[in-house]
Every structure is written in structure tokens, then in C-alpha cells.
């Protein structure tokens, strides 16, 4: 299981892109960290989520 924003998700083995398309996140409005490190946008396709990863998807809304 992968811990994503505090919830255990059955996403181990999926790429980050595969996980994200199964959600409602807009890829242009997010930043993703895994185990405390940013995952560069260019690596979403090649990043495979692993068992026991802790992932944080930070999603932005407009206003400032």
C-alpha cells in the first residue's frame, strides 16, 4: 500500500501518471512529493510508486 495524503491506497506498482489519471487532480495545478522529495513533472510517467511510499499531492486553487 502507498500512503497518499494520509490515506492508504492500493497503488504500488503504478506509475505516478497512472495513479493521477485515476483521480480528479489537474496535473497542471499540483506538486507531488514522495518521501519528502519533489517529483519533477518530467518524471511523472517514469516514477513507479512503491510499497510503503509516503506521497503528498499538493493541489492549488486560484486566488492571491
Amino acid at each position: 500500500m502507498v500512503k497518499i495524503n494520509g490515506t492508504l491506497v492500493d497503488a504500488a506498482g503504478k506509475t505516478l501518471t497512472e495513479y493521477l489519471v485515476s483521480t480528479s487532480y489537474d496535473p497542471k495545478r499540483i506538486a507531488v512529493e514522495r518521501n519528502g522529495e519533489i517529483i519533477p513533472k518530467a518524471q511523472y510517467d517514469s516514477t513507479v510508486l512503491r510499497e510503503e511510499d509516503t506521497v503528498e499531492v499538493v493541489s492549488f486553487v486560484g486566488g492571491g
Binding site: 506538486a31 512529493e33 519533489i38 513533472k41 492549488f60 486553487v61 486560484g62 486566488g63 492571491g64
Partner: protein, 221 residues
């Protein structure tokens, strides 16, 4: 008793510094004085963040924005009626000079992009993301976290509307990345931005910066 601050005219740099040191202590003031903080976006968030940091004694500010002051900004941003049509960088630098004359202010009038942010933000110890559009926020946050893992980043998301003040909070996503706001109140959803709630979020951001500079590691608690 004589006040160190004169009641007329601008206090001297020495008077200014002494007064700040009396309030917050020499040790903290020294940390603030040598700090360089970049404020990306000078709207309701950025204009308020910059003023709070200048007042607190942060030594150097780098202000970045491409836009001009519009009449529709005046209900929440720290500009004056006569500044409509001026570049926000120039107008805010002018206002900061009046508020806190000894803060060193540098500015860049133009868009901050993935390409130019390495150069523009190089000198900053802490970067405040204070943009308006969600895509721009995400662009800057991704770029800063990738390019400058050693720097602190204080970003904001969710402060639109008349929702409760108490849902605006500071979250420490990782050791060096803080996110302020309620996370959900999108400017596109309702009545837009209200001065008081944007200022709350800006205050969270400015306060996170001061706590970082004071050496605080746990920024939520």
C-alpha cells in the same frame, strides 16, 4: 521620558534599529536583518506579506510581479488610489520606502517563469509564492522545489470568499515547504477575494517566514 523615535520627520536608521532591537531582541533582529526574502506576486497576498516583513525588520526583499495596479485591486491590495496604472513593483517599493525606509528593496518587473526563476530567486533565503492563478502557483512551487531544495518555500492556496477566518492555516508539507490557506476556497467559485481573508493568509505566510528566520523547525505547532 524621551522616546527614541522622533515625533516628526523620519527616524534615523540608528533610532529605527534600536527600537526594533528593544522589541524583539538583538539576536532575532540580526537574523532578520541578514535575511533575503523573495515575494513572487504582489497582489493581496504579496503586498501584505512584503509590508509585514519590512515592518518586522527583514533586511532585504526581492519583489517580483509583471502587472500594473488596477482599480479592481484597491479593495484588498496595499496600493493607493493614485497608484492605479503604475507597475506594482514600483508602487510597492515606493510604499515600503514610506513605511520602512531602511529595508533594502530590489524588484523585478516581469513574469516569473520556469526559465528565469533560477536567476531571479538565486539570492533569496526564503521564497514566498503569492501568485493568483493555480497553474502559476504550481509552476513556481515545482520549480523552486526542484531547483532550490536548500531554500525554504512558503506558498498559499485557498483564501477566497467570506469563509471562516479560522480555516486559514499553515501546513508544513515537508521540512522546507509550508502551505498556507484553507486549501479549497477557489477564487473561481464565488465572490472573489476579500481583503480580510487574503490578509489572514498573507499574515500566515509572513509569520511562517519570521518563524523560519527565528530558527523554528516545527512550523505548524
Amino acid at each position: 521620558m524621551n522616546s527614541p523615535v522622533k515625533t516628526q520627520g523620519i527616524p534615523t536608521k540608528e533610532e529605527w534599529r534600536r527600537t526594533l532591537a528593544e522589541r524583539q531582541g538583538e539576536e532575532l533582529l540580526k537574523k532578520l536583518e541578514k535575511a533575503v526574502v523573495a515575494v513572487c506576486g504582489l497582489g493581496g497576498l504579496g503586498s501584505n506579506i512584503a509590508i509585514a516583513l519590512a515592518r518586522a525588520g527583514v533586511g532585504r526583499l526581492i519583489l517580483l510581479d509583471f502587472d500594473k495596479v488596477d482599480i479592481s485591486n484597491l479593495h484588498r491590495q496595499q496600493y493607493k488610489a493614485f497608484q492605479v496604472g503604475c507597475y506594482k513593483t514600483e508602487a510597492l517599493a515606493e510604499n515600503l520606502k514610506e513605511i520602512s525606509p531602511y529595508t533594502e528593496v530590489k524588484y523585478y518587473t516581469g513574469k516569473v517563469t520556469e526559465k528565469n526563476c533560477r536567476e531571479l530567486l538565486r539570492e533569496a533565503d526564503i521564497i514566498c509564492e503569492a501568485f493568483d492563478a493555480a497553474e502559476e502557483k504550481a509552476m513556481l512551487v515545482n520549480a523552486v522545489l526542484e531547483l532550490f531544495p536548500e531554500k525554504y518555500l512558503v506558498a498559499a492556496s485557498g483564501m477566497a470568499g467570506l469563509g471562516p477566518a479560522n480555516t486559514i492555516r499553515t501546513r508544513q508539507v515537508t521540512e522546507k515547504f509550508c502551505l498556507c490557506g484553507d486549501g479549497v476556497s477557489d477564487v473561481a467559485d464565488g465572490m472573489g477575494l476579500v481583503a480580510s481573508r487574503v490578509m489572514l493568509c498573507a499574515a500566515h505566510q509572513a509569520h511562517a517566514v519570521l518563524r523560519i528566520l527565528a530558527g523554528e523547525k516545527k512550523l505548524e505547532e
